[in-house]
């Protein structure tokens, strides 16, 4: 516990990078050496190994996605759920209804803005602290690491209640400390979003910090020493040596943060009491939930889900393109 072990991967990673896929569906052409096939022909073995995963994913991920799309083009409310009335096909009417609703656009805008703010803050805090970790001795490093792991380990729901309590207008220490009297943080739209953002950053920066720190540690010290011997400045070392080597890691944590922050549910639901006063703090996820389970408009809820799915799919495709441009082997 006294020390964080260095990542074990780097050497193997270098070796691996030289290896190249020989499969028929290689993502990109290249002139790298093909590697010899050492073992007996694969046959059905890989599919046997994949069977459980494909079964679970097919039944609990692919099928529900299909169902989501299906429900979003049906008339599906309480009457249909209980079997009182037959389901009828509505085509894109649900989407028309959704897109002509001002609240939907407002929620979409809020979701994007909120997620962007969360991602930027999380990355800034996480990266800054990762660099800080490399500059301090063991004890402060351990302290920060432990605190961060604590925040990371805290379940979203307990984190939400604890932060609410910290900022409670009557009994919370924060208002007391800042001399804000009984100012309510959840009353105003933006201050409520800010409060949720603080909690989200608190519980998600540790992932970024630990990953980036592990990445920095994985950079071979000879490389840094060589750069220093060549007279490179601190800034130069960071810009020309560390940053390029960390790029894959930065991409991963950014994409991961986008995905997580775009689908924040628990924090908004608990901290703003299901979406804030008059729904001022709704994000797409909570909005879909409220439509479906609070007002039984399952079709509209599903349509919102489809919109979310498409947005995240776009992010994923962008990520894949980035990976390919970097020439990563899948």
């Amino acid at each position: 516990m006294s020390r964080v072990t260095a990542p074990s991967g780097p050497n193997a990673a270098e070796r691996r990078r030289v290896r190249v896929a020989r499969g028929p569906s290689r993502p990109h052409g290249g002139s790298r050496a093909s590697h010899p096939a050492p073992r007996p022909s694969a046959g059905w073995t890989p599919w046997l190994y994949l069977a459980p995963a494909l079964l679970v994913l097919g039944g609990l991920l692919v099928y529900p996605v299909y169902q989501l799309g299906l429900i979003s083009v049906l008339e599906y409310t309480q009457a249909q759920v209980s079997g009182g009335r037959p389901t009828s096909f509505r085509g894109l009417d649900n989407y028309t209804e959704l897109f002509s609703d001002d609240q939907f656009w407002q929620v979409l805008l809020a979701t994007v803005g909120f997620a962007a703010a969360c991602v930027v803050s999380t990355l800034a805090v996480g990266c800054a602290l990762a660099v800080l970790l490399t500059r301090v001795r063991a004890l402060p490093r351990l302290a920060l690491m432990l605190a961060a792991l604590g925040a990371w380990a805290t379940p979203a729901i307990t984190g939400s209640t604890v932060w609410l309590f910290l900022f409670d207008p009557d009994f919370g220490p924060v208002n007391r400390l800042l001399g804000l009297g009984d100012h309510s943080w959840t009353y105003g739209r933006y201050s409520a979003f800010l409060l949720v953002l603080l909690e989200v950053v608190w519980c998600s920066f540790p992932f970024v910090m630990v990953t980036v720190y592990a990445g920095i540690r994985a950079v071979p010290s000879e490389v840094l020493e060589a750069a220093a011997l060549d007279g490179a400045s601190h800034w130069r070392i960071w810009r020309s040596v560390l940053a390029p080597m960390l790029r894959p890691i930065l991409v991963v944590v950014t994409v991961q943060s986008v995905i997580w922050d775009f689908k924040v549910f628990t924090q908004i639901y608990v901290m703003t009491g299901g979406g804030g006063i008059a729904g001022q703090n709704l994000v797409l996820n909570v909005y879909a939930y409220q439509k479906a389970f609070a007002s039984s408009q399952y079709s509209l809820g599903s349509a919102i889900g489809v919109v979310m799915l498409l947005i995240l799919l776009a992010v994923t495709l962008g990520y894949l393109r980035l990976l390919r441009r970097q020439g990563e082997e899948l």
Binding site: S8, P27, P52, G159, V162, T211, Y269, L309
Partner: protein, 281 residues
Amino acid sequence: MSLVRDVVRRPWRLAAEATALLVAAVVAFPLYWMVLSAVKPAGEIESTDPRPWTSSPSLDSFRRVFGQQEFGRYFVNSLVVAVSVVIASALIAFLAATAVTRFRFRFRTTLLIMFLVAQMVPVEALTIPLFFLMRDVGQLNTLGALILPHIAFSLPFAIWMLRGFVRAVPESLEEAAYLDGASRARFLWQILLPLVLPGLVATSVFSFISAWNDFLFAKSFIISDTSQSTLPLALLVFYKPDEPDWGGVMAASTVMTIPVLVFFVLVQRRLVSGLGGAVKD
């Protein structure tokens, strides 16, 4: 990093260390306040003059929490869900990761891209179809309704992360095993599995957390049979919007956080090396 440390001059290092300690204190403060509020006597919690210490700690709030009907049961339920998800998804992901790293076959790249895409699917958006699916297969109001979807949702990320670990095992080892007459199964379970165990541990952190923390599924799928509830819902019993029992909420939060903390402390070394190893690829 020793070099960087040498280059950084002393006052800067002290400033950096002071900053690190300060940040650590700020980050740890909410957790400290949670535990503190859980052991404060009722009068001190709901006081307009909150103090960062207590002179008369009491276990009243914990008594209230454990006195709540079936709280122990909720705890066990949460544990069953999380442990089942961790074990099942680790094994399934291990097999799948082996398939996509140790074999070259048709549709391999397509599958990998699909795993990556699957990782992005917002779990929450699927609550509605999953609700009907669970109803149709008779899993509504059972722990299965929580376990099954979480296995599915933690798989893609687990496979993606485990790839790096499986690949790191030298191919020569595999050849040697076959030359010595080991079967595929023997190689898989007795040689490969122990070698990628650190990766499995790092991966299981994510599946454990997502299952243990789950709030949405528990709220949506366990609707009429409260004996199948999990901790998040038990916690909300104390959190009524108008008249929250803060002592109870904080005590329940503490109880809910401790298992995850323990789990984290147990695996933290492997977690850091695991993330470094996997992400580096």
